[in-house]
């Protein structure tokens, strides 16, 4: 790992030089609100590197909200061919939680079967991370995602006079070729540590070590806590749709007007939606909101955690930030932990 120092002007120059060779996307402030989104950079100065969280995660560049993946012709002898669209892309200014989430999805998207569209996009993606300062909804410190060790080429941490940049890959090295950088001073390196320490001080936190989370889920399936927390839930799916670690999707047909061909597209879906698990006979395997809320939590913190060995939540807090009825994973998880500890005492007694 090499650490260098780079000033703000050089960051702009870096973005500018990246724009010469690839599409660069980065956080931008939205509509004068305290809301941000990843958008294509047209003017480096408009990039906003000090931001809390974007509405949608940068996942949308590896897995678009709506993605065509099959083209077909109808008629005498119907034909179908895959559509795999990918282009060189730089994700600039990605937080650790979102980098973690992309790494997570790499596993899920390639487990047993390799999703061709995901992989094609990820192969052409370079990532420049940037460190953040969390708001009251973030719980990355608890989730172990306040730092991330892979999945980026460069990583910037704000320090006095600019950023300390960690060069993580050869591609990262190349990006800096013509950019003026200096050796990071020890004071600057200390600032990086201080920054991280500060980031770790989160009020919003779990009452257990993240690695033990799946254990706590073993006895809470029948708990009333799901109904309590789901009472105000709209089942609107917002939480899933803004989540960087969700990948569920639905498939739609888009016929052309002449009805002689068309495309198949996939769109982001959500397991909180009522019909997600409904089958043709009308049976809904998760009819109640509380069952769907329970499934969402089990999937993130138990099923996929056990399946892939890491939580499918990066602690970014997007779900609660966007949820109008403030359904927040942290208190729910803490209820789960409390319940399971209570159960353990009861069983032990």
């Amino acid at each position: 790992m090499t650490l260098r120092a780079i000033d703000y002007q050089a960051v702009l120059a870096l973005i500018q030089s990246l724009m010469q060779e690839a599409k660069v996307v980065a956080p931008h402030q939205r509509e004068g609100e305290r809301q941000w989104s990843f958008e294509e950079v047209t003017e480096p100065a408009n990039v906003c590197l000090e931001y809390t969280s974007t509405v949608l995660p940068p996942k949308k560049y590896a897995f678009p909200t709506q993605e065509r993946f099959l083209r077909y012709e109808l008629g005498e002898s119907p034909k179908a061919e895959p559509i795999i669209e990918a282009e060189p892309l730089v994700l600039f200014g990605v937080h650790t939680c979102d980098i973690y989430a992309l790494n997570c999805l790499d596993i899920a998207m390639t487990d047993e079967h390799v999703d061709p569209n995901w992989v094609a996009r990820r192969k052409q993606m370079r990532i420049v991370g940037v460190d953040c300062l969390p708001d009251e909804y973030c719980f990355c410190a608890s989730m172990g995602t306040a730092t991330v060790h892979e999945g980026y080429d460069l990583f910037l941490t704000p320090v006095d006079g600019g950023y300390v940049v960690e060069v993580a890959t050869e591609a990262g090295e190349e990006m800096l070729t013509n950019i003026p950088t200096k050796e990071a001073t020890s004071a600057q390196v200390a600032q990086v540590k201080a920054h991280l320490n500060k980031k770790m001080q989160q009020e919003h936190k779990l009452d257990c070590d993240v690695s033990t989370l799946p254990l706590h889920f073993s006895g809470v399936a029948d708990s009333e806590l799901w109904e309590q927390h789901a009472e105000r839930c709209y089942s609107c799916g917002t939480c899933n749709l803004v989540c960087p670690t969700c990948i569920c999707y639905d498939v739609l047909e888009q016929l052309n007007l002449a009805l002689d061909g068309g495309e198949r597209v996939r769109v982001w879906d959500s397991c909180m939606l009522e019909e997600f698990a409904t089958v043709a006979t009308g049976e809904n395997f998760r009819e109640e909101r509380s069952q769907r809320l329970r499934h969402r939590f089990f999937r993130k913190y138990s099923y996929l955690f056990t399946r892939y060995g890491q939580p499918y939540c990066c602690g970014c807090g997007r779900c609660v930030r966007q949820c109008l009825v403030h359904i927040d994973p942290v208190p729910i998880l803490n209820d789960v932990i409390a319940e399971s500890q209570k159960g353990a005492t009861v069983r032990g007694a």
Binding site: L74, A80, P82, A108, E150, D250, R266, D269, V279, F298
Partner: protein, 282 residues
Amino acid sequence: MALNVSTLKAEPNLYTPEMAALTEVVPQTELETLFKFELQSGNPLGHEPGQFVQVSCLGIGEAPISVSSMPCPEPTFDLCVRNVGNVTAALHNMTAGDAVGIRGPFGHGFPIDALKGKDLLFVAGGIGLVPVRSLIQMVLANRDEYAAVTILYGFKTPGEMLFRDEIAQWQEREDVDLRLTVDKPHSDWDGHVGVITTLFPELEIQPDRTKAIVVGPPIMYRFVLQECKLKGIGDDDIILSLERRMRCGVGKCGHCQINNKYVCQDGPVFTYNDIKFMWEAI
């Protein structure tokens, strides 16, 4: 550990169906029809009994359907489909010569090796016979590899019985104990009447050498599983096949998840042992 995606071998055609021609339409009941297909590539489908394919009616959509015939070296296979929605209705509107798209086969089929040498008890309710048929065909074709074969098949009314001619053949065979039942008394029916569990009391079962293959609607499972337990069949020896909504068939879209299992990857065939602690399974 993060993956290095660049080293992975992509499957560019994971979501691209291969075309197959409809060769024959064999009506079964008011709602169900048997379709015979032939892959245009000329290659065999290469499935195991219990696996399913994703059938595309291009322009309409895609649906998971179990392969209903036993594996064979020809590029042909059977699907038996109930007309319940868009894709299934489109299939019902097709005639010989029409083309569909096929992806798969996907999932885990029946554990053939574990069945060898055992007494087999097939319990099928209604359309549940569709996936089981591929296994029955295979067992009957290699009859000497298995011990006793008992088939229980229940349906609501006589009109809902599938594969009539084939069942008549099974009935002829000395080495198969076939028992049929309809749920409610019916003038066209002089056989056994009652839900499928009413066939159990008369069965002679040796639990230590029996494998039960149970496929039917969710409600049937609850009662049949109880009967199997009463007969002393072990949880590991009860094999079932589950059905869920599905989009991708390859463990990505999330729809078919039951607790921590994906029906499309880990199933559709499970042992009861696999799923008995899964509150969403049955």
